[in-house]
Each structure stands twice: as C-alpha cells, then as structure tokens.
C-alpha cells in the first residue's frame, strides 16, 4: 500500500502516462499494422489511404472510448461500493447495465430509434429506473439495507432486464443482428460523436465523484456514525446515485453493457491506496481506463482476424477476481 501523499500523486501521474502509452498501443496494434509515423501523418498530411482512414475513423475513436468508458465504469463501481458498504456492488452486478441496455434495445427494435441523442437519454432513464428499484427492494424489511439483500435485489433486477431484452429480441430478429455485438459490450466500430455527446456527463461524473470523496469516507464508517457526525446521509446517497446513473448509463450508451470493471478496479485501487475515497476514486478512474484499453487490445488478438467483444474479455479477466472477493466474504 502506498502511504505518503506525494507518492500517491506520483502513482497517479504514472497511471496517466500509462494511459497515454496504452492509447498509443491501441492505435498502432491490430490486424492492420500501423507505425507511429503514420499516426502523425494522418493528422498533418492526411492522404486518404486505408491506413489513415483506419487511424482516424476506427483506432483513435476506439482508444478514446475505451479509456473514457473504462474510467466511468470503475468510478461508478467505486461510488456504489462506498455508498452501499458492499464490496460486490457494481453497475453490472446491480443490474444498472442491464436496465440501461434494455431501454436502449426497446428503443432500437420497437421504435426504430437510431439517433445517438435519444438513445443516450434512454440509457440514462434505464439506469435511473434500475437504481431506484434495486435500492427500494434492497432496503425493504425490518433490518434495512444489508449487503446480501441488495446484491440479490440487484441480481434479480439484472436477470429481469436481461430476460426482457432477450424477449424483445426474439420478436425482432433483425434487431438481434443489429444489437448483438453491442449487447456483448464493445468499443469497436463506434463513432467519435457517440463519445463527444456523452463526454460532458462523464466529465461531470468524474469531477463530482472526486468532490464527494470526503462524504463517502464518512459514510463508509456506517450510517450511525455518519449521522452522528452531522452528515445528511440521504442527500449524499442520492447525489452518489445520480453520479452512478450518469457514468454507468453513459457508458452503456456508448459501449453496451461491459461487466466486471466496476467491481474489480475499486478493489485494486483500495489495495493500492487504502480506504480513503478521495484517492480511491481517481485511482479507480485511471486503472479502469487502463484495464479496458488493455482488454480491448487483447480482444483483437484472441481469434484474429475477427474480434472478441471486449465485454467477454473483461468477464474473463474479472471472474477470478470476483470469485476471490466473494470467497473472502462480506459482512452479512
């Protein structure tokens, strides 16, 4: 664990530098080999060659999207774990991804919506609905919110939305073809406008998450302590939930439901910098971006020349972690 504050700053800077290295790798690696020189040329002397088009239209958007989505999912996971005191909380386990994707699939297949602007709002709405239902279901009963109740409620809602999504798709085979790759979670073949239209929300989410780090530190000591220290816990929770909706909903709108990042990364961040959320959140963001970039590069090589959806890659990487965390146990 990194103790002193200046080494934490150095760690963060190294992380950001690594993101740049990974993004560079993401641009030059793949089926079409690309040299660094070509990348510069495509900016300054664009000549319309295949390589230049690939760089501009595919590789660069892809690298940027992977970074932004990875960071957002990881931060959303960190916030959820902090707010619920549940080490397994994450957008995928609690059904937020599934809820957002359900509404997007309904929009595409029933109403033929293709405009990015509308789909984005559908994703936000889906995330909002899920968060509310899971929270209400998880807090029912005399003993209030317990980790196991919340996890089960989340899993039940995730199962609900994914079976509804499948139901919608059985009715519309054409839509199935269209959304299947998106549904597996992928950052490939997305246009840059998709990212630019949600980026303001991402940015707001990241910054606000860092700001509420202090409140989350207090909250993670338990409700009673937090209330005793004069915190309005409900307000913090609602604010946190809004951030989760922005980050996870936005991520789904851009890349489809990508699992396991939100659950694994905050644990690695905690292992690196301890229990202070003011550090956990930025570290989660950086590490999340790195993981998704890495997974996306890996996804190109496993079954070359076709590609594995990056959501499958993160599932492969994340499962052992998940099992480890679950086995170590959480407080009932």
């Amino acid at each position: 664990m990194i103790k002193s504050s200046w080494t934490k700053w150095i760690g963060l800077i190294i992380g950001v530098l690594l993101i740049i290295v990974f993004m560079w790798a993401s641009v030059i690696l793949g089926l079409t080999k690309i040299s660094t020189q070509m990348v510069f040329d495509s900016f300054y002397q664009f000549d319309g060659s295949n390589e230049h088009i690939i760089i501009q239209d595919t590789r660069i958007p892809r690298a940027l999207i992977a970074g932004a989505v990875g960071a957002s999912l990881a931060i959303a996971g960190a916030i959820m774990q902090g707010l619920t005191n549940n080490p397994l909380a994450s957008p995928s386990v609690f059904g937020v991804n599934a809820g957002a994707s359900f509404l997007v699939v309904v929009g595409i297949s029933f109403f033929g919506i293709t405009s990015l602007g509308t789909l984005k709002w559908l994703a936000f709405l889906g995330a909002l609905i899920t968060v509310v239902i899971v929270y209400v279901l998880g807090s029912l009963g005399r003993d209030g919110i317990t980790p196991i109740k919340l996890t089960l409620a989340g899993a039940a809602i995730a199962a609900l939305f994914s079976s509804l999504t499948q139901g919608v798709l059985t009715l519309n085979e054409q839509a199935l073809d269209q959304v299947l790759f998106w549904l597996a979670g992928s950052v490939q073949g997305r246009e840059l406008e998709l990212l630019t239209s949600v980026f303001p929300y991402f940015l707001t989410g990241w910054l606000c998450a860092i700001i509420i780090g202090r409140q989350m530190n207090v909250l993670s000591m338990g409700d009673d302590v937090a209330k005793g220290l004069g915190q309005r816990t409900l307000l913090v929770r609602i604010f946190g939930a809004v951030l989760v909706i922005l980050l996870a909903g936005g991520a789904v709108a851009v890349a489809g439901p990508i699992g396991f990042i939100g659950i694994v990364i905050p644990h690695i961040a905690r292992w690196l910098v301890g229990i202070d959320y003011r550090w956990i959140i930025p570290y989660s963001g950086v590490l999340g971006a790195l993981l998704l970039l890495f997974a996306d590069i890996g996804a190109r090589y496993i079954i070359m020349p076709s590609e594995v959806p990056v959501g499958v890659m993160t599932a492969f990487i994340g499962t052992p972690f998940f099992i480890y965390i679950a086995r170590r146990g959480i407080n009932e």
């Binding site: 029912l140 196991i148 499948q166 798709l169 059985t170 009715l171 549904l183």
Partner: protein, 350 residues
Amino acid sequence: MSKYIPVRLGKISFLLEKRSLVLFVSLFVLMAILIVISLGLGQMKISPLNVVRSILGIGTEMEQLVVLSFRMPRILMAAIAGIGLALSGAILQGIIRNPLASPDIIGITGGAAFTTVGFLAWFSDRSNTLTVSISWLPLASLSGAIIMGLLVYFLAWNKQGITPIRLVLIGVGLSATVQALTTMTMLLGPIFTASRANIWITGSVNGTNWSEVVTVIPWMMVSILILFIFTRRLNIQELGEELATNAGGLVQKDRFVLLLLSTALAGGAVAFAGGIGFVGLMAPHMARKLVGSAFGVLLPVSGLIGGIIVLLADLIARTAFAPLEVPAGVLTSAIGAPYFIYLLYQSGKK
C-alpha cells in the same frame, strides 16, 4: 376436530394441515381445468367437452389428432417445466434463506444456456444444419446446468463448508461470466443459430414431442421423490446454520444434496423448455403467501403454482398474438416480473 392430519410412512412423517390440503386439491383441479382449456384453444377450437372426449379416446379422429398428438406434449411440457423450476426455486430459497434466490440468479439456467448455445453453434455446418441429432440438445443443456451447479458449489466451498451468502455471490458472478460466454458464442456463430439460441434462452415449449415428454417425466419423478424424503431437512435448513446444527441436521451434507436436487429439477426443466424466467422466483413466493413456509406444503403448492404460471404463459403466448408465436418466457418475464416486484414491495412494507 383437529386442524391437522398426521401422516406416517415409516421414516417419513409429516402433518397435513386441512386448509393446505384443500388448497392443494383446488390448485390441482385448477391446473387440470387449465390444461383442458389450453388443449381446446388454438387455430382449431375444440370445446372442453370434446377435449375430454378426445383424451378418453372417444372423440373424432381429427380432434384426437390435434389434442393428443399436437397440443398435449407441449402443454404437458409447460406444466412439467413450471413444476420443475418452481420446486428448484423453492429449494434454493430454503437453502439461501432469502426469497430472491432462484435458479436463474445463481446461474444454473445460465450454465444450461451456454452449453445449449454452444451445442447449436459448434455442431452446425456451413448450411446451418446440425451435424448431430437434435435429440442430444437436452443432454447438452442438462449437463450445462449440472456442471454450473457443481462449480458454484465447489467455488463457494471452504474448510467450514458453504455458506448461503457465498453461494449467492459466486452464483451471481459466474452467471455473469457464462452470460458473456453465451453472447460470444452467439456472435461467432451464424445469425440463424443466434436467433434460435435466443428463443431457447427466452424459453419456449413450442414443438415439443411425446418422446421428449416421456424422457423428462422419469427424471422429474425421481428428483421429486428424493425431494419428498428431504423435505424435513429443508425445513431444518431454513433455521440457519447454528440452529440447524443444534437440531441435529447434517447441515453441509444436506445442503449439497439439496443443491444437487435443485439443479436437477431446474436442469430437467430448462433442457426441454429453455430458460423460462422468473417462475423459480415467483412461484415459491406466491406459495409462501398462501400456505406459509413449512416445506411439507410449500413445495407441492409452489410446484402447482409454477405449473399453472407456465401453462398460462404458454396459452397466452400461442393464442393472443396468433399467427405470431411468442416464446412463453417473454410472458413470464414481462408479466411476472413487475408483479413480483409489487409483491416484494408489499411484503416488505409490513
């Protein structure tokens, strides 16, 4: 007059509450009526009386053909699948001691889905025809369910045995993993396989034939019989770890057997009917509201309710949108899930 009738059969003994008995019988009758109605509805309408005649073998030849050869297998399969899923859910809710547990959530259905989709994708040639007989498909689904059940069990196991919470967490995690694998397999295969697989995942009893029904019945009967013997152990499980141990239960061993039973029941159901969602979650919950939580009555009542739910879903799925055929699973999720959330909300407010 006592409210209970004691039943003793050698080592097995239980109390039968009269009210529950009445309920059980009425649900059974309801299910039978539903089967008869369902047999009569469809493209060719047959009156309930003629349906009964056909079953007894004294109807017209045409009606007998439609009722016995075309509709009967799928309707029986719907009922059997519903019973299997509901029982499986009831067992899991007993072991995990939480009304939100079900075979879909801890990944048993997901495991079956993966092997099914894998089977469809890997044994298809370029022209989308299967290279092996389709009758192997249920075996693929069943083995997926059982492997998944065992995997969840062993990963949740440590020196002290398994705890309910670890079972849930590992199940939730693994089901997300197999879901990713399933989607990947669907993606890599041709779109024809994908849409077929998607219908399986959603759950449908369309196109069931008699030989499938004959295969699944013994499997279910044996599982239900063993479950009947283990009912008392399930009651003990619900007391929780310490009390159950004090009550003299072999907690860990029972848990394993019960989990295996639950997997076998769900696996048998999804093998033929696909991943019909939310029955395993909903039916036991409704049963609990009706008869309370003693498993002696809870199990049969949830089984019947599960059967009724899937029968109804299938009936609506194949008649309401005719000539379009909707998978029954779409309806169980679309109608069942909001209702279930409402139920939970109601019961939680108390």
